[in-house]
């Protein structure tokens, strides 16, 4: 019975090891497919999306009146019409000489980093060329990467201006924070529709100013083309729809601009006293895909506005996926080296503890194999830190097995269960600070750190359970008289 139990244990370990190291191949569509889940790698081991942001060297056309004041909404005028009105066209660089300095390069870099952080990007590297302001961003490649990249280049300039006089009423400096909110939809007539709102919260001292603006630019009763919803949110009204007869009576309107692009022209249904301005993004919908798009758009806008405006305009110069320079061959070499070290260490155990050592070795191999399967099925993303975590777990488990075998060898007459309990207790008390670090690291939204944390978490958990159940029992069987 004793022999059967030991043989069963050894065969189980061999089976788990085969599965963990070689996989389970099943014939699928004329090819053999490994059904065991593969490892997920972080960008240092897999590859990264590398984007190059270059300072925009282009110009923008500015139309000025006779007094040299910038004229808005004159883009559609022909040259003759411009001359007739006394307007002149000027080409202005997006990034004039006076803004091209190290301080602005640094500010742009920090804003990009802030945006990446707000976008919850879990691994990135931002490099700044201080000589020409070029910025290189390396980030993890996934479904959201394109959206993230699109959120890096906007300047994030926010303005609320008087539609007629072009006077700037509010800008980025007045914003406290920007959030994305959900609400019951009302514009499509669809039941269960959801609207996505961009909620702009202004600073405390500008709340009064917002109230003033919303009062001065209130919707007149006969201004029929302005709509508001239950959330006191202002909806878009287009000025060209207004009839000429009631032009005089029409409400004064504000224009909201992001990066000089008109987002909406509107008036207010009622004064805004809370310092909050809610804008609908897209149309209310119950369609998951449409909602996701709206949320993403709103999140992008919120993050761009929330992180402050960039002092320089950047354009996307390069965007490519670059594989890690750590090749499969190099990974294999590392694996062989680690396996060789483990083999030597395990041979030492066998030499020192003979039959008990052999069982200890099988127990060790069983845990290592199971551990490699667990980190795959627990979706742990492996970074270089994670690989070191695997190494540390293998070392810790070796120390634990070695301590256990030494104690059993010394106190042959004592109950194995008691010895195992005592050794495990002492060992895990010693690694409590490591457990604290591991749990802390697991919650950090930075892949290299969380990878180490998660690998160690599963490793320590497995060590506790496996050694308590499997190792203790198998060694007990061996020493049974």
């Amino acid at each position: 019975m004793k022999k059967i139990k030991i043989i069963t244990f050894i065969l189980t370990v061999v089976l788990v090891t085969m599965v963990a190291f070689f996989g389970v191949y099943i014939h699928t569509q004329n090819r053999m497919e490994d059904k065991v889940k593969g490892y997920s790698y972080a960008m240092d081991l897999e590859g990264a999306r590398v984007i190059r942001l270059k300072l925009d060297s282009g110009n923008r056309t500015v139309i000025k009146d006779a007094e040299g004041k910038e004229v808005q909404d004159a883009d559609n005028l022909t040259d003759e019409e411009l001359t007739e009105k006394g307007y002149t066209k000027e080409e202005q660089p997006y990034n004039s000489e006076d803004v091209l300095n190290k301080q602005n390069y640094e500010t742009s870099k920090s804003i990009i980093e802030k945006r990446l952080k707000e976008l919850n990007v879990d691994n990135y590297i931002v490099k700044l060329d201080e000589t020409n302001g070029d910025i290189i961003v390396e980030l993890t490649d996934n479904d959201d990467t394109d959206f993230i990249i699109s959120s890096l280049t906007p300047i994030g300039k926010f303005e609320i201006i008087d539609s007629q006089t072009q006077e700037v009423l509010m800008d980025n400096n007045d914003i406290e924070n920007v959030n994305v909110m959900y609400g019951a939809g009302n514009s499509t007539g669809t039941t269960n529709a959801t609207s996505i709102y961009l909620s702009i919260e202004f600073t405390k001292d500008r709340t009064k100013k917002l109230e003033e603006i919303s009062t001065n630019y209130a919707t007149k009763e006969d201004s029929d083309d302005t709509t508001t919803d239950q959330n006191t949110e202002s909806e878009n009204t287009t000025t060209d729809e207004t009839s000429t007869e009631n032009e005089e009576e029409k409400s004064k309107e504000i224009t909201m601009k992001i990066d000089d692009e008109e987002i909406m022209t509107t008036s207010f249904d009622e004064p805004l006293r809370t310092g909050l301005l809610q804008l609908t993004v897209g149309q209310a919908s119950s369609d998951e895909k449409a909602l996701k798009e709206n949320v993403q758009r709103a999140s992008g806008m919120a993050i761009v506005l929330d992180c402050g405006n960039m002092p320089l305009k950047y354009s996307l110069e390069g965007n490519e996926y670059i594989f890690s320079d750590i090749t499969d061959e190099q990974m294999q070499i590392i694996q062989y080296v680690v396996l060789a070290i483990i083999a030597v260490a395990l041979i030492v155990l066998i030499i020192r503890f003979k039959t008990l050592g052999i069982l200890g070795v099988f127990s060790y191999i069983g845990l290592a194999s199971l551990f490699l399967l667990v980190i795959r099925y627990a979706n742990v993303v492996l970074s270089i830190e994670g690989l070191f975590g695997i190494g540390l777990i293998l070392i810790l488990n070796y120390i634990l097995i070695n301590n256990l075998l030494s104690k059993i060898n010394k106190q042959k007459e004592e109950d194995i269960s008691e010895i195992s309990k005592d050794i495990n207790k002492k060992f895990f008390i010693k690694i409590i600070p490591i457990c604290i670090t591991v749990i802390t690291f697991s919650f950090i939204n930075w892949i290299p750190i969380s990878s180490f944390g998660m690998v160690m978490f599963w490793g320590i958990l497995l060590m506790a359970i496996y050694n308590f159940i499997v190792t203790r029992n198998i060694l007990s069987i061996k020493t049974q008289r």
Binding site: D44, E320, Y321, E385, K430, T440
Partner: protein, 216 residues
């Protein structure tokens, strides 16, 4: 000081000397950064077919003898190679293109291959994401240590934990500075491993002391 043995005294003196030497080396010639984090230059060659990194490595070994070079495959089809070196002159670029053309039968034009500059990564940018997790973990550990080993005098326990943790990290960084080991991708994992092993060492020592007190 009465508990410090001669052996320990020698060890402490050696560690202090290592740290001083590390500080002097860092202050005078700075740390040795891996090419990945250094200011460098790169070229990209679209071969239009899959290639072996080792073949490209042979070419770069001829053109950049005894220099660190990073070779990476680009894009989904892995048919473009990215070669990064500390500095790539026009002549070196021309040679690479010529040898690649010879090897793969491509007709790449050297003049069309742009040499891009890659700025360096600042040391503070590398360590920034790790500061908060380390601080949070250390604070919790210190609180735990102070409670668990209150019989050993919480203040002493806290000071020893902080002191030894900082000391081991300084020794590690000093050794890296003195031995000119490049600060690269394995530096942070090494720091974490040393931190973990230090914690095990500290708790083992405190547990031993605690057992002695219990026995007494």
């Amino acid at each position: 000081m009465k508990n410090i043995t001669t052996k320990n005294k020698i060890l402490i003196i050696i560690l202090i000397l290592v740290i001083i030497a590390g500080i002097l080396v860092t202050a005078n010639i700075g740390l040795n950064f891996d090419l990945r984090y250094e200011k460098s230059q790169k070229i990209e060659l679209n071969l239009g077919k899959e290639f072996e990194t080792s073949d490209i490595k042979n070419i770069t070994n001829e053109i950049f003898p005894n220099q660190e070079v990073i070779i990476q495959k680009v894009e989904l089809y892995k048919d473009t190679v990215c070669i990064i070196a500390k500095e790539i002159t026009e002549e070196q670029r021309n040679n690479i293109v010529e040898k690649v053309n010879e090897k793969y039968g491509t007709e790449l034009v050297a003049e069309d291959t742009e040499i891009f500059s890659i700025p360096h990564t600042r040391g503070r940018d590398i360590i920034k994401p790790y500061i908060t997790p380390f601080v949070i973990a250390t604070v919790i550990i210190i609180i735990y240590m102070a409670i668990r080993y209150y019989k050993l005098n919480s203040i002493k326990v806290i000071l020893k934990t902080i002191g030894i943790s900082i000391l081991t990290q300084l020794v590690l960084l000093s050794i890296m500075a003195i031995a000119r080991i490049p600060i690269g991708r394995i530096t942070i994992p090494l720091v974490i491993i040393v931190y973990m092993l230090t914690l095990i060492g500290i708790t083992t020592r405190f547990e031993k002391n605690l057992d002695q007190i219990k026995e007494e």
